[in-house]
Amino acid sequence: MALGSQSLPSRASVAPLSRVRWRPVVRFAILVLILAVVLYPLIWVVGSSLKSPTEVSSNLSVIPKNVTWANYPDGWFYLNKITFGRFFVNSTIIALATVVANAASCLLAAYAFARLRFRLRRFWFAIMIGTLLLPGHVLIVPQYIMFNYFRWIDTPLPLIVPKLLATEAFFVFLMVQFMRGIPRELDDAAKIDGCSSFGVFRYIILPLSVPALVTTAIFSFIWTWNDFFTQLIYLPSVESYTVPIGLRLFVDSTGQTSLGPMFAMSVLSLLPVFVFFVAFQRLLVEGINTTGLKG
């Protein structure tokens, strides 16, 4: 923290004493102001979800005058036949399956890349890094035709099966980076004790990779929960809708939006991600750092 003028000899810091005292206060005030602007939309949607229909369009304040919970059941039972509960179940199934599939398949691939020597390893690794930058939208048309041929449209399979095949290169890369930090001496010790490559994986890499697995699991869940593009394409009928697709039902009908129920269901849809954020904040922040920096 000894940056700039603070680190100068004391002689220099005597004269602008008042300035040195004020600087942190101003800085803190700016940070609080930015934070208020950043958090405003989130607080606003929570507040709006608790307002009555008349108040939602007239009251600017984020705090409702009269708190009403009616928007929540209204939103939940917005469609006559299908409740939002169905959408939440669909979203949860897809998200949890993706978490397991990503964690397992990417761990296997990462172990091969990080620890095992085989022909063409560098070549495959370069390809893997290449797919990291490959825009997913480029493949969506042929993938759709392929999954349509398999009769997988309107099932969760097009969303889950690719994840079983370690197609999320980001997580492979994250785990490779993580495994490079595990001391090789542990592998060697296990090998001397008679472990094969599978044994090393089972008894050394797997238990020590738990932090990377947790990071992968959390990001997989959040990204799948928020995903819209693929779910929009592969899940056309209302029974198989997920939460993001379901939310659009509030807008679809002739532009007349039922704001209150829409805000209520929006808040519910953000809640799981928010809970993950509160519970795993440190891991999430460290997760983007390990992939982002220590390359």
Binding site: L60, R117, F228, V243, T257, V273
Partner: protein
């Protein structure tokens, strides 16, 4: 797989000559490791072939046809470069989509990174509460890509939305921002910039790695805050800036959800929010012109590839690696 399975079967004979045994054992271990490598790699390899490589080739083929999902395969005609020619000569919406996407990427991404760096610099000076601020600034990056937030944005920037009521406090007459062709894209940009938390976290970690001695040396040489920032912070941070720039630009060109939700899937008003991916979706999945959509996809892929090449070839001139280690 085939090239690795053969050596594993070669077990050493029981009475091997004294000198050859260790080497053979080593070779055998190496072959076993190679086989294990391909076994562990096999899910990824299958995925690469079936989910990535085959669709890529398939989509290249489709881009030269008039295929749509409703026609049977014997109705598919090979049309040569027709799709590509039409795109560049006779498709105003394509041109509009390119302009909209470039505008979005070239304006929103730099602003987002400037915001991220500015807040990271402020936060880096803070002694206490860094974790608290960092976490809350990061929150929009987790939530912002969702449909829910796009709906919130649409409501906030509509005619009677919260933003206009805020402007009214200062006597400013607002607009129906999301329905105004001149302002709808700007609304999307604000939503993108609002998610500055993720690059900020990466900047913050980068700032922590800048050696304090460099600042001390600069201060001794009489450099003020501004020159310290310009001659110490920025060069030392350039690998992180480069990383964020590449990542955010490539992501920025692929924005879809917010544009789709705010324009209700149309790219409107008057194609003002027609991001490239949204146009691709419209052609492929609402008009079902999948041959044309595949041609659009390949042009997009080549464009993204060119952008990446430009980044990495110009990066040499301004990215400074203090340890001489790339990436």
């Amino acid at each position: 797989m085939a090239l690795t399975t053969t050596p594993t079967t070669a077990a050493p004979p029981p009475s091997a000559p004294a000198g050859g045994a260790p080497r053979r054992r080593r070779n055998e271990a190496r072959a076993r490791e190679a086989a294990a490598g391909y076994i562990f790699l096999s899910p990824w390899l299958i995925g690469l072939m079936v989910i990535t490589a085959f669709p890529m080739v398939f989509s290249l083929y489709l881009s030269f046809t008039n295929y749509d999902i409703l026609s049977t395969w014997d109705m598919v005609e090979f049309v040569g470069f027709d799709n590509y020619v039409r795109m560049f000569t006779n498709d105003p919406t394509f041109r509009k989509a390119v302009v909209v996407t470039l505008t979005f990427g070239l304006v929103a991404v730099p602003l987002k990174l400037v915001a991220a760096l500015a807040v990271a610099l402020l936060l880096n000076r803070e002694r206490r509460g860094v974790g608290f601020f960092r976490g809350l600034f990061y929150l929009p990056s987790l939530l912002g890509g969702s449909v829910a937030l796009a709906l919130v944005w649409q409501a906030m920037f509509s005619r009677s939305g919260a933003f206009n009521e805020f402007l009214a406090l200062f006597g400013i007459q607002g607009k129906p921002w999301v329905n105004d062709p001149d302002w709808a894209l700007e609304t999307l940009m604000v939503l993108a910039i609002w998610q500055f938390g993720a690059p900020m976290v990466i900047f913050l970690a980068g700032l922590k790695q800048v050696p304090v001695e460099l600042y001390e040396a600069a201060a001794v040489d009489g450099a003020g805050r501004w020159r310290q920032f310009w001659h110490v912070t920025l060069p030392m941070l350039s690998p992180v800036i480069f990383f964020n720039l590449v990542l955010e630009t490539i992501n920025g060109f692929q924005g879809f959800t917010s544009a789709f939700v705010i324009s209700n899937g149309t790219g409107g008003p008057v194609d003002s929010t027609m991001l490239y991916t949204l146009y691709l979706y419209t052609k492929g999945f609402t008009e079902f012109r999948m041959g044309y959509a595949s041609a659009l996809a390949w042009v997009f892929l080549i464009a993204i590839g060119l952008v990446t090449v430009v980044f990495f070839s110009t990066g040499r001139f301004w990215v400074h690696y203090s340890d001489g280690d790339g990436n």
